[in-house]
């Protein structure tokens, strides 16, 4: 192998160290994560140029190395999984059922020991972090990034309550995650014996698709079947299982001890609802009448893996597609029919086909005008007609519907409409470029528009294949810029962080889950196995979950975390003229999150000037490729950039659906 050629597994195009080399000499790395005697010597990488200068300068500081990882990790990786045999505990029986269902990953903290240990022993990949909340977000992101069911777990009492934000978030995003929490013995119920006793079902009842308190180990296989039926059919959503001590601990001795012990092909079906011919005819008739029809492709298109059928239908009928949802890329942003980056055209649509739009907007929340008429395709009849008045409601699996529509619909032409979409896309791109030129004038800190534009240049117009890098798109104020520039070219290239529930602080957890998904090549990330991921967030979010940087480092996840550090909550802007209120929305200034990352075994870069951002990004990416270690890029901004009178364009809003959407 050429010393400068670092081809990763599954890469469509090799990534060369030279290609990623920083061009600036102004990097302010506070950690030498490319030590002269270590990585550079080993790789024979460039000995001259800006990078080596930066490294040379940094090497005056203490050379950074990953923190020691206990040998137990390597031992565990070599240990063969156990094959469960009778007698076994209820926990092992449940783990066996999960394994048979192909449960892809469990994200948790220590606790719920019988179940999580049984899962680890049986060979289900288990990843532990610092906080159950972040681990539940990791599971959410893993499933959003892969399409595969994952699980998260918390111990009884506080471990369970820590899961709640993640559960609510997953419910809002319609993510099929299995939430498991242990509980004390049934015999202790209501007695306040010891600690951590808590009734769980009433807490989660509005946040799950299905829930069950397990009290009898004999029926654990049966209830695992209930859970996976819910997780793998219909509209996806989380499921909660409350594991009492009895359900986990009890020993099962004979095959007769296991109730309803069917194989998964006998307890659930792969069948999907198909569209009725009448509704297909009505939909096609409405689309044929339309001058400017449009398809909204949302979360359900991803989970039903309907992207090929969507493309076939759109191309045959020349109907543009705009994306929304918890993940993006099912319809590539650079397709000639993509309207995802054409916000100004959306109000022209006269017929809108919503497909897989589980989270429904109300009138006025989507940009379609008052004359638009709606077709909705959804697997759940009971949801059709909610929020938006519809003219055709088609009950169907998304993929099945699109396949039938692609087959039955006649070829159509909408040349003028497509031209309008393209013109709107160009206008949007031109506006973004103008915005970038405008914010480049602000030199005293880094404006989010610089991050957005230069990140896009690096990802899509540099030396990395544009479809390669998964993005965790989070943040509040900063996201209003980055979303305008981020693009998706393949399924789940973007995980839409704040989607629907608007959780602050989920993002490092997302980086863990999405990072594992890509690092190990699960589901739709298989072709991108091993590549770095990038997650964007604000400083408020990092404050919640920054400790999971240690998890990223421990798990050797090649993740890049971009923290937009403007010393304030995103809410500061609206309180700026309320002197007694303002301090509630502020942090200490110029916090060194990069140093925190270093202390936790990751790498850190502090960026204080606009011209430093791209070199920092290049360096972090290079490090991720070469060492599979994470980097936190702490980008120093200033809160006053939200003030449009002083720093136009100031705080931005959004138009939905499309590239800036995250409500629906």
């Amino acid at each position: 192998m050429n010393a400068n050629d670092y081809t990763k597994t599954g890469v469509n195009k090799s990534v060369r160290v030279d290609d990623l080399e920083p061009k600036s000499e102004n990097l302010q790395s506070r950690r030498t994560f490319l030590s002269a005697s270590g990585l550079l010597a080993a790789t024979g990488a460039v000995a001259t140029g800006a990078l080596s200068q930066a490294v040379s300068a940094a090497s005056k500081e203490k050379a950074g190395q990953p923190l020691p990882l206990p040998a137990d990790f390597a031992t565990a990786a070599q240990a063969p999984p156990e094959v469960p045999k009778l007698p076994m505990t209820g926990a092992t029986l449940f783990a066996r059922a999960c394994k048979a269902e192909g449960l892809a990953a469990l994200f948790c903290c220590p606790g719920n020991y019988t179940v999580t240990h049984a899962m680890a022993k049986i060979g289900i990949p288990v990843y532990t972090g610092r906080d159950e909340r972040s681990m539940s977000h990791a599971a959410d992101a893993f499933t959003r990034a892969t399409g595969e069911v994952s699980a998260t777990s918390g111990t009884e009492g506080p471990g369970f309550t820590n899961l709640i934000s993640g559960l609510a978030n997953a419910k809002a995003a319609r993510t099929p995650v299995l939430f498991i929490a242990s509980n004390k013995s049934v015999r202790e119920e209501d007695a306040e014996v010891a600690i951590q006793l808590m009734e769980q079902e009433s807490v989660t009842s509005h946040m799950v698709k299905w829930q069950k308190r397990l009290v009898n180990a004999h029926r654990n296989h049966e209830y695992a079947a209930y859970a996976f039926r819910q997780l793998k059919t219909g509209v996806p959503s989380p499921v909660h299982l409350n594991f009492t001590a009895e359900a986990g601990d009890e020993k099962l001795k004979t095959p007769g001890d296991i109730a309803y012990n069917f194989d998964k092909c006998l307890y659930r079906t792969e069948a999907k609802p198909n569209p009725s011919p009448a509704h297909v005819v009505k939909s096609i008739a409405l689309l044929r009448q339309a001058a400017r029809p449009i398809i909204v492709s949302s979360t359900g298109v991803f989970y039903s893996k309907a992207w090929d059928a969507l493309r076939q239908f759109a191309e045959k009928t020349q109907i543009p597609v705009v994306e929304s949802g918890a993940m993006r890329g099912q319809f590539p942003d650079d397709h000639p029919l993509s309207a995802t980056c054409s916000p100004d055209a959306l109000a022209s649509a006269d017929v809108v086909m919503l497909i897989g739009q589980y989270c429904m907007p109300s009138i006025g929340e989507y940009a379609f005008g008052p004359d638009a008429r709606y077709i909705r395709i959804d697997p759940a009849a009971e949801d059709i007609g909610r929020n938006l008045p519809i003219e055709v409601g088609m009950v169907s699996d998304e993929k099945a519907a699109l396949e039938v529509l692609a087959q039955d619909a006649p070829a159509m032409r909408h040349d003028a409409w497509v031209a309008e979409i393209m013109a709107a896309r160009k206008k949007f791109e031109d506006e973004n470029d103008a915005m970038y030129r405008q914010v480049l004038a602000y030199k005293d800190a880094v404006h989010p528009g610089v991050i957005a534009k230069e990140l896009a240049e690096f990802l899509y117009r540099g030396n990395i294949p544009k479809e390669q890098t998964l993005i965790g798109s989070g943040g509040f104020g900063v996201a209003r810029y980055t979303r305008r520039w981020l693009r998706a070219y393949r399924p789940a290239q973007i995980v839409n962080g704040q989607y629907q529930f608007g959780t602050v602080g989920a993002d490092v957890g997302y980086a863990v889950g999405a990072g594992i998904a890509v690092k190990e090549g699960h589901g739709v990330q298989a072709a991108y196995k091993g590549h770095p991921t990038i997650t964007i967030m604000g400083d408020a979010a990092f404050g919640y979950s920054g400790m999971e940087t240690e998890t990223l480092a421990k798990l050797r996840i090649p993740a890049i975390i971009i923290v937009y550090n403007n010393n304030a909550w995103g809410t500061w802007y609206l309180q700026a003229d309320e002197p007694r209120v303002v301090p509630m929305h502020l942090f200490q200034e110029n916090i060194r999150y990069d140093k925190m990352a270093e202390a936790l075994g990751a790498n850190g870069i502090y960026v204080t000037k606009p011209e430093e951002f791209t070199p920092a990004l290049q360096k972090a990416y290079k490090t991720a490729v070469e060492t599979s270690m994470p980097t936190v890029i702490n980008v120093q901004g200033k809160k006053e950039y939200w003030q449009r009178e002083k720093f136009p364009p100031g705080f931005l809003g959004k138009v939905e659906p499309g590239v800036t959407s995250y409500y629906h």
């Binding site: 022209s348 006025g364 005008g369 008052p370 609206l574 931005l652 809003g653 959004k654």
Partner: protein, 186 residues
């Protein structure tokens, strides 16, 4: 319809939305009816809630309905001045403030030659204005013609224009929209 009409009355026969009587000679009643028919068609499709029309003594038509963000909207049709107005559409906007200037620029842009024909405020047929008075912005559309068809087109145009104005405000003045319409600031 001389007195109040309502979506509720129409909902019993949802396909019976009245059309503007385009084949008749222009009259003040026709202009008001034309507007009523267009707005009522939105009500029949449940885009508007609780739609009502009333005729003022001066011959002006007033139309009330619930629409975006559950807000009440009032549209007036002034036949004497050939003007349709969405009254007090945006509160808390001072005359010639940055926001007011941007709103005026936005409206001016909708008349530009580059705007698609189905979206354009065609200056040969109508003119849009954001009138600020006492901190309240009303959206006005003054028509070049006074025939029934002009009022029907104008009614549809001003509703679509208001929708687009709200999109613009959501994109560039999100904080104002949150605070004014209680949309939630996340």
């Amino acid at each position: 319809m001389d007195k109040q009409s309502s979506a509720a009355a129409q909902s019993a026969r949802p396909h019976a939305a009245r059309r503007p009587r385009l084949d008749q000679n222009t009259s003040s009643a026709d202009g008001l009816h034309a507007v009523d028919a267009v707005l009522n068609s939105y009500a029949c499709r449940s885009v508007f809630q609780d739609y009502r029309m009333k005729r003022r003594k001066n011959g002006t038509g007033e139309y009330n309905f619930g629409w975006l963000y559950g807000q009440p909207f009032t549209l007036t049709c002034d036949l004497r001045h050939k003007r349709l107005s969405l009254i007090d559409l945006l509160p808390g906007v001072q005359r010639d403030s940055l926001m007011h200037k941007q709103i005026k620029t936005f409206l001016k842009g909708r008349a530009g030659a580059g705007v698609p024909e189905h979206r354009r405020v065609d200056p040969r047929r109508m003119r849009a204005l954001a009138r600020a008075r006492d901190g309240l912005v009303s959206l006005e559309l003054t028509l070049a013609e006074a025939d029934c068809e002009a009022y029907a087109i104008g009614a549809r145009k001003i509703i679509n224009l208001a929708h687009e104005l709200f999109l613009f405000m959501n994109e560039y003045w999100a904080d104002y929209m949150w605070q004014t319409f209680r949309l939630g600031m996340e």
